[in-house]
Symmetry: C2
DNA sequence: CGGAATCTTGACCAAGTTCAAGCGGTGTGG
DNA sequence: CCACACCGCTTGAACTTGGTCAAGATTCCG
């Protein structure tokens, strides 16, 4: 798969103070440059990952190039386990990223933790179904920003690691629509934009009420 | 929750020849009339279910009444476990339905099987994200019909237990669009409709190529 | 400073929704 | 047994949201 030789790897001390579920046992940390693949569709599933720093996108492609981003993963969050023995999604580092890597052994040893993580992943995906199936563009963006804020402990100053294209492919929209909605939210002073990647949530209540 | 007294309950012989994952141990079978709730949002999660006969819809509601059907469950399929301790979805029998009910104990005893089921559920939801996020109406309907066919072992004669409204709420469309697309597929002789609920897949290859 | 990406904005367009009417089977009461 | 009302489904016409295409603005970097 991806040779360890071109990665920065090192022992990873247990109990790191990261949020999210923890798997025990010694494991490695690998560094990924922005845009680098963590795994590809078809690769064998033999590891799982926890983001230490940076961000990861997991997505699928249609034959004609349409892309659906299934999830983003922020520091502390686990990803990389799927049903079956081979990946059906792609995972890539969005920015410079460091990942804690867990091998097959520590996965099998702690199936209870894995169950919790799998159930959380299912819940997340099902929540997202509601957004894609039944919410309009503004609601999608609002839900996205509110979710990002929540996942960082309710911060109001968001640094978006992902591009407009990533957001569009996550929300089932186009970059133009994402951009227009951001502008509209800015005009209504629900958010402020220092630059495209730096969002300041000015009225969290207004943002939440847009999520329905 | 739902009192056992108004249910038909009986001992359920193990190893029933149903497709899908099996959990061991004695359990009960309950009967549900069309439209009856299996559980509601907020109910404690203390059981899980396997469809014996009939069909179940699992869905979520927005405050303004918009509904997103997250999944349908056909004979042999398991449902009812979620992250956390309380349901965040509703589950209802679509038609007259019989369910095998598993208690908390048999759930905890076999977390490995549960893990597989949870991972399968996650995969299913993520697959559906692609449909809702990136496919047009015809592709959604085609994917839906092909999926139903697959889940029944590739049969070409489908009896749809669910209404057009259920399908619409599953695919993020309106009943009118579902109806129009069905008509269009019929005109192209990809399918034949004896009546609204009986679909005959005439050209499975054509249907699949519409799914992309 | 120049060039490439990324993002924003505008004008037009199309897919799907909304609204409204009609169809067809089913069940009920006269 | 028929008339009628009801429900789920289909169809048509007008409309709206978001997509497409194209042109600028901004940022990021070498």
């Amino acid at each position: 798969m991806y040779a360890a030789s071109n990665l920065t790897e090192q022992r990873f001390a247990q109990s790191h103070g990261l949020s999210g579920a923890q798997l025990p046992g010694p494991h490695l940390v690998s560094s990924y440059k922005a845009g680098r693949a963590v795994y590809a569709e078809g690769d064998a599933i033999d590891k799982c990952y926890q983001v230490a720093t940076g961000a990861v996108r997991v997505y699928r492609l249609l034959s004609d190039g349409r892309r659906q981003v299934v999830s983003f993963h922020l520091p502390g969050e686990m990803f990389g386990f799927e049903a079956g023995s081979n990946h059906r999604f792609f995972a890539e580092a969005i920015t410079e990223t460091r990942l804690a890597v867990f091998g097959r052994r520590s996965m099998h040893e702690r199936s209870q933790e894995l169950l919790d993580i799998a159930l959380a992943g299912m819940a997340r995906a099902q929540e997202h179904l509601l957004v894609l199936g039944r919410q309009c563009a503004v609601e999608r963006i609002a839900a996205f920003l509110a979710d990002l804020s929540d996942r960082q402990g309710g911060v109001r100053q968001l640094r978006l690691p992902m591009s407009r294209q990533d957001i569009a492919d996550y929300l089932g929209l186009t970059i133009e629509t994402v951009s227009r909605v951001m502008t509209k939210l800015k005009e209504r002073s629900v958010i402020a934009l220092r630059d495209a990647r730096t969002v300041n949530i000015m009225r969290l209540d207004a943002l939440r009420s847009l999520c329905h």
